[in-house]
Amino acid sequence: MTKKGKLALYWAASCGGCEIAVLGIDDKILKVAEAFDIVFWPCVMDGKVRSIEKMEDKSIDLCLFNGAIRTSEQEYMARLLRQKSKVLVAFGSCAHEGCIPGLGNVASREEIFQTAYHDTPSTDNPEGIRPQPETEVDEGILYLPIFYDTVKTLDQCVEVEYYLPGCPPEPERIWDAIVAILEGKLPAPGSVIGAETTVCDECPRKREEKRIKEFKRTWEIIPDPEICLLEQGLVCCGIATRAGCGALCPTVGSPCIGCYGPNEGVEDFGARMMTALASVIDSEDPEEIDRIIREGIPDPIGTFYRFSLAASQLRRTALTTGGEDQAAASA
């Protein structure tokens, strides 16, 4: 038997769903354990960062990194694991394109702190205390990670070999990827491991030419079970979303929200969705078109950039505070 490889798994700004998805491969996890020594997996087993720091560079064969980069600690871990790993995989939507944490890019740290530590009705903070990177106490200085203004994707911090899309990636796709890694049948570095077409390809619904008179929210209609949801007015992102999930949501009547990210070669998921939908709105009257969009899509960022704002061309809304306080904080 050949020498076992070394595997690390890490989570940064994420919900933990990816960790559960890894376990979703069921008893195949034993095969993973057969093939790899798991050297680091904070969610599941005890481990020390220091022991990773002490490892030789490139001594970890495979690192599955889930979660986006929101704090200095996460960035440190990303760099560390990059340094120690031969193959770094951005695992799941957060690492791949920012995902839900990335939606924080519509606000600055200041705005987020204001909401979280002051404005929410359940907050009781009469002294206005906020987390500080450094706090002097009698015993010395305490450090907290710096909270960035902007959420970054993994590859905006470090070089990434592969991407495994999905929120979370489907267990079958995870297993496919692990098999590909074990068998050395990998695409060119920098690739997304997955399909090159979109969810419609896996969707059993019947599709016709598209002309949309009105966008509907999911609570407004009970969709016909046979017909394409988009044709029924539901903003289904399946047209733009990479296949791989088996069209789980649209199959059961819930429109695709785009968690598998953009198709191969697409620069900006939201822009693709918007141009596509704008093209099939069935009206030539600018005022009516305006009404159809305004009434049907009240939250364009949340609809079209739900998973990809941090990875989009614009990445975030314009910062008004400029991040100077952050530079001061880290100095």
Partner: protein
């Protein structure tokens, strides 16, 4: 391998150099832009000397890419592509930066213009390096031509082509060719009779061995592309066997059912349930109108069948379809007349003796409902006074903003006919008299001499409410005489409304069917308003006559002939090269979501049911990019407009922002590097 880019900056006389510091820009591009091997400026790049400059540099300096910063690519892209081609460089490796239309003509500040020119050139240089060699495709041209619409434009186009020896299918929706011209009496300014000059041409069409006349037919479907269109024609049932009918007319004589003729006679006369539009109809074959035919309505009669000497009546006839292969299509679908009821202040439809121009044409026509007698609606009384109102529905923001081009001359003609045939006094109420063509002004002078009255003013109202003595039982025309500055009430017997020419009611659908666009009003859009008036943006589809915009008979005939000449040119070359800048759907990326299916303005996209993917017919694609932008899966790419090329161009345009000093840099967050 890095490219060797040549940059050429045109002065365009002072058009560009008067605003942009071209020497400075050329020097800057040579020194600052990566891979630029040669950077020159020249007075007129489009001159043969300018082109030779490019050709020499390609040969001597080994340029692999060319950027010409000059006018809009619409004007000279071809010129510079050809220059590259002459020197052995693929023409698609040339890129233009429009520093005239987009810089020197629109930026007032010289320094800002110079900076903008630099950015445009940086964009072009960045982009051109990613250009790919493209080769046009050659496809054969089918020598058959489809002409849609049998009015004078279609007749002329068909005859020109047929006389040149090429087969023509002439499709007409009505039972006879002839169009509006067949309804007219005299033609301005020469006053020769419309029928006398039209019917010989109609007979020529009917008898021509190269013309296959398809009357009472409509185009059902069009597919294919320049050189090889497939057209499906619906032949509406005439209930008369065209092979057996001799056109003797006995059936018409014997038919007991008389109905109002709302088409050819515009409601002024009657026709039978089996009839032809007019005696000189071509083909001279009657058609049964099932809506009014006693047999079709009540199951009894069959008089026509009983009396037909050749047994040509066939009540069982069905609509049938005919599939044609043609190389080019000429659309000569003509115009509709403005509905004068839309201007109730003129009383048409309410006041009996208000006539439309076409009604009056029929009245003047010797074979028309009054046999040429000019009489009031009662059919007997000659008018003693007539007012002709110009611009009814034309030059009117409430209806059509444009001038209908022919009404002034028609009004003069009507004035002449009224004075010739009756003793009536004729008054024209006009906004401006427009007599711009050969012999037209002379005709106007003639009418002035003949004693026609002219009042410059737009008529406010035509009413029968008498207020003053002498107005009883008259139509009163209320108009401001703007030359005298007074209000006038003119009591008359008859009013003629010079109705506007409008696009056919179904023009937009027809445009969609043939993949061509219409103006806001609905006139078919020509490829270039001055330089290419009969071609359209869709290769192989030509337009002629009033379908393109209001025009008189000579202009219509000229366009018909011009369109035919263009088609002859295509046929005689025998093959046509198809622009390689087209979109392609990559099947492996296409999920068949069908977003793109309805978008193509040229009908180039079809859905392949078996493979569940969409497909672009490259020969139909014009490379407009609509589908490329819309494809949510980015399964469609546009040659010459790849993401990489477009982003490279944008990066070039932003060169001073991206690579410049910190002041101009976009706000990029500087994250602290953790210890």
């Amino acid at each position: 391998m890095s490219e060797k880019v040549g940059v050429y900056i045109c002065h365009c006389g002072t058009n560009i150099a008067g605003v942009v510091d071209v020497e400075e820009v050329a020097k800057w591009a040579g020194e600052n832009l990566e891979d630029v091997a040669v950077s020159r400026e020249y007075k007129f790049m489009c001159s043969s000397l300018g082109q030779e400059l490019i050709e020499d540099d390609i040969k001597n300096e080994g340029l692999t890419r060319v950027v010409v910063a000059a006018c809009s690519p619409h004007l000279h892209e071809k010129t510079f592509r050809r220059a590259c081609s002459n020197a052995g460089l693929n023409p698609y490796l040339c890129q233009m930066a429009s520093i005239r239309e987009q810089v020197s003509w629109v930026v007032e500040d010289n320094e800002a213009a110079t900076e903008k020119a630099k950015a445009m050139i940086a964009g072009a240089v960045n982009r051109v390096k990613l250009h790919e060699e493209l080769e046009p495709n050659l496809v054969p041209v089918n020598p058959n031509t489809l002409v849609v619409g049998g009015g004078i434009a279609g007749i002329q186009a068909s005859l020109e082509l047929a006389d040149a020896g090429y087969p023509v299918y002439l499709v007409e929706r009505e039972p006879s060719i002839g169009g509006h011209m067949a309804q007219f009496d005299k033609t301005f300014p020469t006053l020769d009779c419309a029928a006398c000059i039209l019917t010989p041409k109609m007979s020529d069409v009917g008898a021509h061995p190269n013309i296959n006349m398809l009357t009472y037919c409509e185009v059902e479907e069009v597919s294919g592309y320049v050189g090889s269109f497939n057209v499906r024609i619906k032949k509406k049932a005439k209930y008369v066997d065209e092979e057996k009918c001799t056109g003797c007319g006995i059936c018409i004589e014997k038919c007991p059912k008389k109905v109002l003729d709302n088409v050819f006679e515009v409601g002024m006369g009657y026709r039978k349930s089996i009839d032809r539009p007019f005696p000189q109809a071509v083909p001279n074959i009657p058609v049964i109108d099932t809506e009014s035919c006693t047999y079709f309505q009540r199951g009894k009669c069959k008089a026509c069948e009983i009396f037909c000497p050749t047994g040509a009546i066939d009540f069982e006839q069905q609509d049938s379809y005919l599939d044609l292969d043609v190389g080019n299509i000429i659309l000569t679908t003509g115009y509709d007349l403005f509905d004068c009821k839309a201007m109730p202040q003129y009383g048409y439809g309410r006041l009996a003796n208000v006539f439309t121009s076409l009604e009056f044409e029929r009245m003047c026509n010797a074979s028309g409902p009054t046999e040429g007698k000019i009489v009031l609606r009662d059919g007997v009384t000659e008018p003693k006074s007539v007012v002709i109102i110009h611009c009814v529905g034309s030059r009117d923001e409430n209806h059509n903003p444009y001038c209908s081009a022919i009404c002034c001359m028609s009004a003069l003609k009507f004035g002449h006919l009224v004075m010739e045939k009756t003793d009536a006094e004729v008054t024209s109420c006009y906004i401006d008299i427009r007599t711009t063509q050969k012999g037209y002004e002379e005709f106007y002078n003639r009418l002035l001499e003949e004693g026609m009255n002219f009042i410059r003013g737009k008529v406010a109202e035509v009413t029968d409410a008498a207020r003053l003595p002498g107005e009883e039982d008259k139509l009163i025309v209320q108009v401001e005489d703007t030359l005298l500055g007074i209000q006038r009430r003119i009591p008359v017997d008859m009013v003629i409304l010079m109705a506007a020419l409008e696009p056919r009611a179904d023009a937009k659908d027809v445009g969609l069917q043939f993949g061509i666009s219409c103006s806001m009003e609905g006139w078919f859009t020509e490829r270039h308003p001055k330089l290419d008036p009969v071609a359209t943006m869709t290769d192989g589809i030509f337009i002629a006559g009033a379908a393109q915009g209001p025009k008189d008979i000579p202009a219509t005939i000229s366009q018909g002939a011009a369109a035919a000449a263009r088609v002859q040119g295509m046929i005689s070359v025998g093959e046509v090269s198809i622009e390689p800048v087209v979109a392609t759907i990559h099947e492996e990326n296409c999920s068949g979501c069908r977003i793109c299916n309805t978008l193509c303005p040229f009908n180039a996209i079809e859905y392949l049911e078996d493979k569940e993917v969409s497909y672009i017919n490259a020969a139909l694609c014009k490379g407009c990019g609509t589908c490329v932008a819309a494809c949510p899966a980015q399964a469609i790419t546009g040659a010459h407009y790849s993401n990489e090329q477009i982003f490279a161009e944008i990066e070039g345009l932003l060169y001073d922002v991206i690579s410049g000093n910190g002041a101009k840099a976009p706000r990029v967050e500087r994250e602290p590097v953790p210890a």
